[in-house]
């Protein structure tokens, strides 16, 4: 590849212009360079006003998500040479309001995350001196994959349903709901499911499957959502039954 690549960045500065625009930066190319490295180069050497989020630089914190060549990805885990193009387009994650340049507003996601109660709910706690709540390896295996979610919101940017219906709870939050519902230490699955079987929950997902394709941690939110649909349907039917017939 050439010694230089053009980084075509979508800029948005509401205080200067109401519309986003593209700006090209010629960045020296190295084979071991990530997209995030190129953005950092621009910020350090060319335009200090470029705004983007990052922290760990190793695919752990989930803060560096952006649209790279139209696909939502972690910029710290995407090699420039993988893209194989002289001009690399980088923009903010789709489906989210943009605050500035590549920085998007996460409030909606945070609200939805809380909505599914992503924590262990216990009917009663045992005293500390009785030790931890132990689990067998196969019980951990039930939720291990979904517990790897880093809240990077890349699945939301890939999900066309969320783009069309912003009230949809969305892939990551539903995957986390699944993660806690199958955790043997949790007693809150009914309460959690009750929040998912409404108009904006499970049934909004039409199983496009893109969330699982773009997820950088192989969390498979689409699969988790489909697995929630059977218990969700049972609970929805039970609500219609007279109380004496409900389990």
């Amino acid at each position: 590849m050439a010694d230089e690549i053009i980084l075509r960045v979508t800029r948005y500065r509401p205080e200067q212009s109401p519309l986003p625009f593209h700006e090209d930066f010629a960045v020296p190319f190295r084979n071991d360079m990530m997209v995030l490295d190129a953005l950092a180069y621009v910020k350090d050497h060319m335009d200090g006003s470029l705004a983007f989020r990052w922290s760990c630089r190793m695919g752990i914190c989930g803060s560096c998500g952006a649209s790279v060549e139209g696909t939502p990805r972690l910029t710290c885990s995407t090699f420039l040479h993988e893209i194989r193009k002289p001009i690399v387009r980088v923009g903010p994650l789709g489906h989210f309001p943009v605050i500035k340049d590549l920085v998007v507003d996460m409030d909606d996601f945070m609200r939805k995350l809380q909505q599914v109660m992503p924590w262990i709910i216990r009917e009663s706690e045992k005293p500390l001196e009785r030790g931890e709540y132990s689990q067998l390896p196969e019980q951990v295996e039930l939720y291990r994959q979904q517990s790897l979610c880093i809240n990077c919101m890349i699945c939301y940017a890939g999900c066309p349903v969320y783009g069309l219906e912003p009230e949809f709870i969305g892939p990551a939050a539903l995957a986390l709901a699944y993660r806690y519902n199958v955790d043997t230490r949790d007693h809150g699955s009914k309460e959690r499911l009750a929040r998912l079987i409404g108009r904006t929950g499970l049934w909004e997902c039409t199983y496009v499957g893109e969330c699982s394709v773009v997820c950088p941690k192989n969390v498979d939110p689409a699969g988790a959502i489909q697995r929630l649909k059977a218990p969700g349907a049972i609970q929805a039917i039970q609500i219609l039954l007279p109380p004496i017939l409900r389990r």
Binding site: P160, G163, T206, Y207, E210, V213, D220, A222, G223, R227
Partner: protein, 120 residues
């Protein structure tokens, strides 16, 4: 989102294709059910059979077959990852479930064919 969002990436397109193929399968099933309902009226049934054996309907059946195959392949390739079936302490890999699902679909289709068209 623009109404052409599904043209943005090949996987969105494949999703739309899967959804569209289900319409053809639905139409064929509808025609099949209507045929059963018409069994009560011999005259109507015969008229419908003429329609069912016409070259236009045969062509439609061919299209439905292609659509059903596309639907089955895309459906199973997606859903194979959803089911968690454990066998001898191990979760079956999606590829095995895909193969099993396709095989089950072919076997059931064969049985339906024998039952309906050969009356075995």
């Amino acid at each position: 989102m623009p109404s052409t969002w599904w043209l943005r990436n090949p996987r969105y397109f494949l999703y739309m294709l899967r959804e569209v193929t289900s319409i053809f399968v639905y139409l064929y099933a509808l025609a099949f059910v209507v045929q059963f309902l018409l069994l009560a009226d011999r005259g109507l049934f015969d008229a419908f059979r003429v329609l069912f054996t016409s070259s236009v309907f045969r062509a439609f059946t061919g299209v439905v077959l292609v659509m059903a195959v596309v639907h089955a392949i895309t459906w199973w390739s997606l859903n194979a990852g959803v089911f968690r079936i454990r066998l001898r302490g191990r979760t079956l890999p999606p590829a095995a479930l895909f193969a099993g699902g396709m095989l089950a679909w072919i076997v059931v289709s064969g049985l339906v064919y024998l039952l309906v068209f050969r009356g075995f």
